[in-house]
């Protein structure tokens, strides 16, 4: 196991929360640079650290503690994989509607990175489904926030606070989520476009309609004759509601469409989630105003031409959030990131994974906003020795 190419001095694998707490407090006592790891699928994300003294792995904290199916909630140890959890929840016809590109991805890692995919359109990101957490601070204290009921405003929402913290504030020991019933059926309409303007118009038309889509995704891939544009619309509901909505989508879109279901549909979405991570490319996250999709696609193509980077793009068109894969020499990818950040049409450009040459040239997190002092003050309060995710960010 390496953390972005850096070999940790030691890997600790606690078996329960008490051992996790002991591992944390001894790391703090010895001022050891500590990285919390779940399935290890995102250990190359973030800045490259100078050194890693200890990796605290939650791999053995992998139990589904409680599935309160009557209440549509579940409490899960952080080291359980999303795949395993959903297999167990399905026994009662429920699921935790989150995506991950990585089979090894754990609940803790998904929350800590607030990672999401096409299901975000309907269900939001992990922080939207999180209703309670158990955290372990660097000094070994075990802290609870939230609870096991979906409606609860007692106390500070520390669960949301650690969402997106990348393990820099605390280790997540357990997480409690609200769940959803598994849909009875699912179907997807795929639409292929020759030009980005038509894609953007249809995406906006569908987003401002009264459907309840499960996903409304766009995809731009390099093709032999230039970029290929696709719109992917998923409906998962009762059989008749699914059929009716998908038929309406087919009537509304301006290009030839194809209905995909069954195994082909499962494969399609798996590929859509996996697309940004193929090979050893640079993968970026970025956000845009949904109505500016055409402008954003033009921008990506222009910077792609200027820099020579090959761009693959997947995104949630009604949310305005997505991932870019940049293939080609690292210096081209680095220039791409710099130019992208210079343009106001996109924001929150974060380099998630990249070769070391790219990370050497651009900061993976970008410019901190004016709330950075508040975040740093909270970081100091929770991790006074600064051992957690030291050198990797985001704080």
């Amino acid at each position: 196991m390496t953390v972005d190419g850096i070999q940790p001095v030691e890997v600790v694998t606690p078996r329960d929360v008490a051992e996790l707490a002991a591992a944390m407090s001894s790391a703090q006592a010895a001022r050891r640079a500590t990285v919390i790891s779940g399935g290890g699928s995102k250990l190359s994300w973030g800045r490259t650290p100078g050194r890693v003294d200890v990796v605290v792995s939650t791999a053995r904290l992998s139990h589904l503690i409680a599935h309160r199916h009557g209440d549509l909630t579940a409490t899960i140890e952080s080291g359980a994989t999303l795949t395993d959890v959903n297999r167990l929840l399905a026994r009662h016809g429920q699921w935790l509607p989150l995506d991950s590109a990585f089979p090894a991805a754990t609940i803790g890692g998904i929350v800590a990175t607030n990672d999401s995919g096409p299901l975000r359109h309907r269900f939001g990101t992990p922080r939207d489904l999180l209703i309670g957490v158990t955290l372990v601070l660097a000094d070994g204290r075990v802290v609870h926030a939230g609870g096991t009921v979906v409606k609860n405003v007692a106390g500070y929402d520390l669960g949301r606070l650690v969402s997106g913290s990348f393990g820099s504030l605390a280790a997540i020991a357990t997480a409690t989520f609200k769940l959803s019933p598994l849909p009875a059926t699912s179907g997807t309409i795929g639409v292929l476009y020759r030009e980005r303007g038509a894609l953007a118009r249809d995406a906006q038309l569908l987003a401002s309609n009264q459907f309840e889509f499960t996903s409304l995704d766009v995809q731009v891939t390099p093709g032999p004759g230039g970029p290929e544009y696709r719109l992917l619309v998923r409906v998962a509901s009762s059989p008749s509601a699914t059929e009716t909505q998908l038929a309406a989508v087919q009537r509304l879109v301006s290009a030839a469409s194809q209905m995909i279901d069954g195994r082909a549909e499962t494969d399609l979405w798996r590929d859509q989630v996996a697309a940004p991570w193929i090979g050893n490319a640079t993968t970026l996250r970025m956000a845009w105003m949904p109505a500016a999709l055409a402008e954003v696609l033009t921008l990506l193509e222009r910077i792609g031409h200027e820099t020579g980077a090959t761009v693959t793009f997947t995104g949630r068109s009604a949310v305005g959030a997505g991932l870019l894969r940049l293939d080609g020499p690292p210096e081209k990818a680095a220039t791409f990131v710099e130019r992208l950040r210079d343009d106001d049409a996109v924001a929150n450009v974060v380099v998630l994974r990249a070769p070391s040459e790219v990370k050497a040239r651009v900061d993976v997190w970008g410019e901190p906003g004016d709330a950075a002092p508040v975040m740093r003050a909270i970081k100091t309060a929770l991790d006074p020795a600064g051992i957690l995710n030291a050198g990797r960010g985001p704080i």
Binding site: N114, D128, V149, K151, Y156, S168, G320, N348
Partner: protein
């Protein structure tokens, strides 16, 4: 309050925006939880974030506690003033800054009412989802502070799911932007911490919310049952069938009687009334609505009414939403609680509340969001009878104990505020509360921002349970232990 402070406040906001005469201050003594009252030293009514920054900087310099206030509709004493402190009213920050239909977002100042957002976007077929019962008058700033919910949060979530970004004045007077109007701002979800922090971490001066398309179809059904258990069974079966209604509400006999007397919704006579609303695409709603109706009949509904049009739907909701105010007819005073239990534990907890009603001699009406287990017991009392107000408070505390024992929460949407801060240890350990306090101290080290709310009696930061250890502040002669 020292005259020089008042003079400086007048210089910042103008003389007419600074209130300090006892009669002027009366309005600000409490929010919608009138049994907790405190007179502030002054009230200021700024018009801009820059003015708020100046006020907060002045407070920080002079060590004056300050409390932000929206429209004062809170039910937990979250806007209760601090003696000797300043109330910063956000009523004049009431501009709608932008309405962006193509991108489905609206930017408003905190004094804009919840319903005003929907009014702005309704002509375009959109609405703002969180709908607390007070939505006609409550402010969006207050909603952000309390993470307000409403009847429809079972399907649509709370304020925290609909706020994209805020601009806020921090306790040191700095102006910061938390989240930005685009998704995935890097780093910890500070916005998620601030929403629901009850005005203890920052004063929000601008809010970006997302708006939703009005659903294509809405169907509302009212079912009468002879027992809470039968109604509860219907709710369990609906959820068990994989249906997430937009709203599931229940009212017991006492609240139905009260609502009937007040607004005449013409509900059928029943021990328990269940209201189920489904919304979404027409095809989906129709299919699921049939299932809901079948489930209600199977669970023993004695009457089922289906709203055939908007007018009939409004009548049903009027009956439900009037329940609180209508209780005023049943008793001179009442106390509303806001506990939550896991939905499956509702029958058992309601039985305990019934037993408590008999034991205490105080009538307790129950109206609740049955889909998410959020109870609103209305405890009737008469403050003219010596001891009854105290008894009502004891009964309320007992109910919260039942909620926590069932694995629930002391508050689902009203907030902890000043009202329930002393119940926090029933839900959270000393360590949990110490860490929450540490987060608060990191953001507000001088403890001036809405002190006395959310967390029980303040602890010294860094104080840990166990044998006595001298705190750094004590060592430095800056604090002492009592």
């Amino acid at each position: 309050m020292h005259e020089s402070v008042l003079a400086e406040l007048r210089r910042v906001c103008g003389a007419e925006a600074v209130l300090h005469e006892p009669l002027q201050l009366l309005t600000y003594e409490c929010d919608a939880l009138p049994h907790l009252r405190e007179t502030p030293a002054a009230v200021v009514l700024p018009r801009s974030a820059a003015e708020i920054q100046d006020i907060v900087r002045l407070c920080a310099r002079e060590n004056i506690p300050f409390v932000a206030r929206g429209h004062g509709t809170g039910l937990s004493g979250g806007a209760l003033p601090v003696a000797g402190g300043i109330v910063i009213s956000l009523a004049r920050l009431n501009r709608v800054i932008s309405v962006d239909i193509p991108n489905r977002r609206v930017v408003v100042e905190p004094g804009v009412t919840n319903l005003e957002i929907t009014r702005q976007v309704a002509p375009f077929g959109y609405y703002y989802a969180p709908d607390p019962s007070s939505q006609q008058v409550c402010s969006i700033g207050g909603n952000v502070a309390e993470n307000s919910g409403g009847a429809h949060c079972l399907k649509y979530g709370f304020t925290t799911h609909h706020v994209l970004a805020v601009e806020a004045v921090m306790p040191d007077g700095s102006l910061v932007h938390i989240g930005n109007s685009l998704p995935d701002a890097p780093g910890p979800d500070l916005l998620g911490l601030v929403v629901g922090s009850e005005g203890t971490l920052a004063i929000v001066t601008k809010v970006t919310v997302r708006i939703l398309r009005k659903p294509e179809a809405v169907q509302t059904l009212l079912a009468a049952f002879t027992s809470i258990g039968a109604g509860g069974q219907a709710v369990s079966d609906i959820i068990g069938a994989g249906i997430i209604p937009a709203a599931v509400e229940m009212m017991d006999r006492l609240t139905v009687e009260a609502a009937e007397a007040a607004v005449h919704p013409n509900f059928p006579p029943a021990d328990t009334i269940l209201i189920v609303e489904l919304d979404g695409p027409t095809s989906e709603v129709q299919e699921m609505f049939e299932t809901v109706e079948t489930i209600c009949r199977r669970a023993g509904a004695t009457a089922i009414e289906i709203a055939q049009n908007d007018e009939q739907r409004m009548r049903i909701w009027k009956g439900r939403k009037a329940a609180f105010a209508a209780m005023g007819r049943m008793a001179p005073n009442y106390y509303v609680q806001d506990g939550v239990v896991p939905r499956t534990r509702l029958p058992e907890v309601l039985e305990r509340i019934r037993a408590l009603e008999q034991r205490s001699g105080l009538r307790i009406g129950n109206v609740f969001h049955a889909g998410d287990g959020n109870l609103h017991p209305l405890i009737c009392y008469d403050e003219r009878i010596p001891g009854q107000a105290d008894l009502a408070e004891q009964v309320a505390a007992e109910i919260l104990t039942y909620c926590v024992e069932a694995g629930g929460s002391i508050t689902g949407e009203h907030g902890v505020g000043a009202d329930k801060r002393d119940y926090m240890p029933r839900m959270f350990s000393d360590v949990d509360l110490d860490v929450m306090q540490a987060v608060r101290d990191a953001v507000d080290p001088k403890r001036l921002c809405n002190p006395g709310k959310v967390l029980p009696t303040p602890r010294l930061c860094g104080e840990v349970p166990g044998p006595y250890r001298e705190h750094p502040l004590e060592r430095a002669g800056l604090g002492e232990r009592f």
